[in-house]
Amino acid sequence: MLPRFWRKIKYRYNLIGSKCKNCETLYYPPRNICPKCRRRGEMEELELWDEGRVISYTIVHETSDDFKLNVPYIIALIKLENGVIITSQVVCNPSEIKIGMKVKPVFRKYGEDGEDGVIYYGTKFVPAD
């Protein structure tokens, strides 16, 4: 059961997050309110498309119906050079994935809605070197 994907399209496709003008913290996914400054903060949208490094990963072997056809696939936490951390799929041979590996974002298909055939796209990462 994927979320109604179109609402967040631009944030997913271009890694648009938010920056708090008060404390300068970057957030991905975007937030309406800065959890550090709350009402004192002011958010603006910012593209966070950047290279980064894998800080943790897992190779998924059993999953829900939506991703059943993709196993095994890699889920990683990636720390971008701008400091933001993102949960994403990494596209590479599962034997290659390592902590510290340099990766870069790419635009890729994520899934498909069986009933109405809608295809979901988003950002994945691939090895940078």
């Binding site: 059961m1 994927l2 979320p3 994907f5 967040k8 997913r12 957030y27 991905y28 996914p29 959890p35 800080i55 943790s56 990963y57 897992t58 190779i59 998924v60 072997h61 059993e62 999953t63 829900s64 119906d65 939506d66 991703f67 059943k68 993709n70 696939y73 889920i75 990683a76 936490l77 951390i85 993102i86 949960t87 994403s88 799929q89 902590i99 994520y110 899934g111 979901y120 988003g122 994945k124």
Partner: protein, 385 residues
């Protein structure tokens, strides 16, 4: 004013094919009423932990339904469903506790119930993934085991925790469950059983993951004054603290600690004027083996990063310095989602009353930790006899 547990009841956890949702709730409820020696007329309110009746059963409004089928219909008492992911039971206990503490009621029920096996394994995986952030974690295929795997991998990298250490948690909990007649898996397993089981999300294998089970559990709470009239062996809820955190892992500074657990434990110890060393027995949320290792650290049973050492040295076994999950935990007792937090309260009550049979621990102060998702919610309860 203190709030006491005066009765406990629980169904067996597991794949209860021949029983429906209403059947298991009633079974646990009647056991609790018998235990408290109440007729049922005394009950003034119901708080029910249930995570996902809507998706597991297509049934919402479970609160009134339970009141109805428990034979309490004509008392017309208020009944509320409480949902905080798989911490729903712990949160229901807290709501019930607050209701008695407020002076509004003398006798209330805190229950937890989930009927999960009517859906298949893939849908069950999807429903559990909904305790994490659907939009930013679920969307990319991060299931709940995948998210705990990310936590485990980082813990292993930073603190040299090994897959064998995780396996030891499952082995211990299976061993404890042998003596729990309500547990789902009552058989011993070896480190090899765990290590040779297939990966769900590396490094977590089948035997690192708690099963998602059917089950119901009930505790009856009473004001101190009422408790004294009802029983010679009240168990008091000394403090109960709930805390929240960023739901998505990516928003947290450090995923090898759960701030919701650290915060709620610290506050509960303070309210109860105890230190972690004073805890004699604990039931913690081992939905995945890594979660039990992290619980040792976040609850202060050892220093950060030394969780693996605690399990290796046998300190959390029955007979060890701080026995953890004498019931078998979620891993071997089964994880009936919204019922788990109440089941933990049932176990600690039995332990403090000296009614835990062959798995009895010598204990005066007990602790329960119930977690929602990957730590978006934590509920820590301190019990005293």
């Amino acid at each position: 004013m203190r709030v006491a547990i005066v009765g406990v009841g629980q169904t067996k956890f597991g794949e209860l094919w021949d029983k429906g949702f209403r059947d298991i709730v009633i079974e646990a409820g009647i056991e609790a009423l018998e235990d408290a020696n109440l007729s049922g007329d005394e009950i003034e309110a119901l708080y029910i932990g249930n995570m996902s009746g809507g998706r597991y059963l297509g049934q919402e409004h479970i609160s009134a339904l339970i009141a109805d089928y428990s034979g309490l219909t004509e008392l017309h008492i208020p009944s509320v469903r409480v949902e905080t992911g798989d911490a729903s039971g712990g949160s229901a206990l807290r709501e019930a506790y607050l209701a008695v503490l407020s002076g509004m009621y003398d006798v209330v029920i805190a229950a937890g119930a989930e009927k999960v096996t009517d859906v298949g394994p893939e849908l069950a995986m999807d429903i559990m993934a909904s305790t994490a952030d659907r939009e930013w974690e679920g969307f990319v295929g991060a299931t709940l085991p995948a998210l705990y795997a990310l936590i485990a991998k980082m813990h292993m990298e930073r603190y040299s925790t090994r897959e064998e250490d995780l396996a030891m948690v499952a082995v211990k909990n299976h061993k404890n469950a042998i003596n729990n007649p309500k547990a789902q898996f009552r058989r011993e397993i070896s480190i090899d059983t765990v290590m040779n089981s297939p990966y769900i999300a590396e490094p977590l294998k089948v035997f690192d993951c708690a099963p998602i089970s059917d089950g119901a559990s009930v505790v009856i709470l009473a004001s101190e004054e009422m408790a004294r009239k009802l029983t010679d062996t009240p168990v008091y809820i000394d403090s109960i603290v709930q805390a929240s955190d960023y739901v998505a892992l990516q928003s947290r500074e450090d995923i090898t600690t759960m701030k919701s657990v650290v915060y709620s434990a610290r506050k509960a110890y303070k309210l109860s004027r105890i230190s972690p060393n004073d805890v004699d027995v604990a039931e913690v949320h081992d939905s995945f083996t890594i979660a039990e290792i992290m619980a040792y650290e976040d609850l202060g049973f050892c220093k950060k990063g030394e969780g693996a050492k605690l399990i290796r040295e046998g300190e959390t076994e029955i007979g060890g310095r701080i026995p953890v999950n004498p019931s078998g935990g979620l891993k071997a007792c089964g994880h009936a989602v919204g019922a788990t937090g109440i089941r933990q309260a049932v176990e600690i009550t039995l332990q403090l009353r000296g009614d835990a049979g062959k798995r009895q621990v010598d204990a005066e102060i007990g602790l329960a930790l119930n977690i929602g998702g990957t730590g978006g919610t934590a509920v820590v309860t301190i019990f005293r006899r």
